[in-house]
Symmetry: C2
Subunit: 333 residues, 2 copies
DNA sequence: AAACGGAATGTTAGCGATAAAGATCAGAGA
DNA sequence: TCTCTGATCTTTATCGCTAACATTCCGTTT
């Protein structure tokens, strides 16, 4: 900047101002500065700016997996809003592990993000302490935690799954199976299972649970779990899967065996992945509005960072109700 | 740090050293410093460290879309390697647009990343200039550009598609169709189409091209394009799609109409998405080893950043040959 | 006992930007 | 003519850490 200042004949401060939007620099001066800077091949150095201004323009987010298109959609929604507001997303990837999440949160906070987004409402004690002590807005997504750290953008996985069970019962299913991963790290999967069990007991339905290993669960594992369900002595009317990927795997296994869906067994998924719509029959699923979770979070953060915590946007809990998408896989012809 | 130094009774420099691996601090002193720091709720400030040490630990990457699981896999592979080496990925999302890429590259370079990864080999002139002038390792992925900016980790999309056409011919297909997006921003898609045309002409096969709008192309668009193919007067023996998503959409359309795959028409995709394996029949596809592209890039960068450009790892072009995965959709029973 | 060497710690001076406050100046109004 | 005002630009002093060099300390060697 000093070199440019010398070349243009102004002070470094003016050059600094020319590179920002909000500050007062004469139009002519600004143009000249930017032009000479470009000629000199100068690239603005954010690291220094970050330090002095105590603003980084970072928003950190931890998600369980990039592999899962639901979370990828959330990141996409978030990124779109934040990128437009000039903020840069810092992505961390916990692999469905709260200890890894803690490590990641610490690493990310060192970068001095202006806000922090985490997936889910379960964290280690130290992670909670770090988040609370950071003095920045914290948003928990994909969940409605009982004692939130800061803001919340999400929905109750248990309730959503309960609504799915209601639907299946009214569609005529009385004997159910739930296919899900083990719930070591995946709180959302565990919550869905919990919601399933609660609803099945409430409606006095027969049910069983099948576990298919640690998340992220794939189509292949869904197919494998379906083998177990179909081979079991007691038949089931409907299978509820923790995600559409598993559900599609289960559907494939039925087709392979000539088991008709939905006539012999209904299948429901979760997450409204593309595949739910395109499968034959279409998969009944719960659309969690993954991308909306991201963009809503982004909008909340942009408002918070602009107006501070007392702005109109400072609603602590923002619920995004999932939409039940009924399709061929649970509707008798 | 000054506060901690005072509390422990050492100089700030010693505290600084205690927070880094490679430096010499007495074991006892280090433990005490870290413990007191934790008690005081201190979180290391990378922004200052970055400025002074001129090292950020950032590696920036631009990808067309997070929506596409192939690129998401590349990011995942890259992130896994880099995260283990203590580096943080900065993700930017170009939306298949080279102008947006240029803007993004400039923004990202301001953060002073230690290396830059871009997708594809086509960039605006200014983007090339920025990349070359940054003085950091640059890796172009998912392509083998004719005049690379720096390092390359990828494959020839045209050649890979050529091999697919070879396979289809030997499987008995003589009249082909190619389903792809328009090639405004998606160079990879355009290269695949080019490879398709070249191979079809080389083998003297009849062929036609169907375009289904701007990328990213989805299952739905693949289905729509298949309508066009099936409704056309001239029948085709095989349809090659620019990606498995489009291919699966095409397959679904066939099933909807009762057109048998592969007996009446063969379908091939690209990218080895999960769905290719799980579809019925399985989709023949080209596995580009998306994740390996990411992890190979990561390993290259870790080696470069550790040993400098003259290390053994400094191979300029790293080719990752795609694997043809033949499945039921192109094999007559 | 003096000289030496290596590990542990301390001192000084920035990294490259910007917040905050002050200076300059042209044009408006008295 | 003189004061005043707002836009434009300058000066000064950091932001929080660490490179580079200096120093201390203690066990070894001669």
């Amino acid at each position: 900047m000093a070199d440019i200042a010398k070349a243009v004949g102004v002070s470094p401060m003016t050059v600094s101002r020319a590179f920002r939007r909000d500050t007062s620099v004469g139009e002519v001066t600004r143009k000249k500065i930017l032009q000479i800077a470009e000629e000199m091949g100068y690239v603005f150095d954010s690291t220094a700016s970050n330090l002095r201004s105590q603003r980084t323009g970072f928003v950190a987010i931890t998600i369980p997996s990039l592999n899962n298109s639901n979370f990828a959609d959330t990141v996409r929604g978030l990124n779109e809003v934040l990128q437009a507001a000039g903020l840069q997303v810092l992505l961390g990837y916990t692999n469905y592990d709260v200890d890894e999440e803690e490590r990641l949160i610490e690493q990310l906070l060192r970068r001095r993000p202006e806000a922090m987004v985490v997936t889910g409402g379960r964290h280690t004690d130290r992670a909670r302490r770090l988040l609370k002590g950071a003095g920045i807005p914290v948003v928990e997504t994909w969940d409605i935690p009982k004692s939130p750290v800061g803001y919340t953008v999400g929905f109750s996985n248990a309730d959503a799954m309960g609504r799915m069970v209601d639907h299946l019962q009214s569609a005529g299913a009385n004997r159910l199976a739930f296919i899900g991963g083990d719930d070591k790290g995946d709180t959302r999967g565990a919550d869905r299972r919990r919601g399933f069990v609660a609803a099945a007991e409430r409606l006095q339905l027969e049910f069983r649970l099948v576990s298919l290993g640690s998340p992220p669960i794939s189509m292949r594992e869904g197919a494998r779990a379906m083998v177990e369900v179909l081979d079991a002595r007691q038949p089931v009317d409907a299978v509820v899967c923790v995600s559409d990927l598993a559900a599609f795997g289960a559907l494939t296994e039925c087709q392979r065996r000539g088991v008709s869906v939905p006539d012999e067994v209904m299948i429901a998924g979760f997450g409204a992945y593309d595949i739910a719509e395109v499968a034959l029959p279409g998969l009944t699923t719960m659309d969690a509005h993954s991308m909306a979770i991201g963009s809503r979070t982004g909008e909340l953060l942009v408002a918070l960072l602009r107006d501070g915590a007392d702005g109109a946007a400072a609603k602590k809990v923002s619920q995004i109700e999932p939409t039940l998408r009924i399709s061929g896989s649970t509707v008798l012809r």
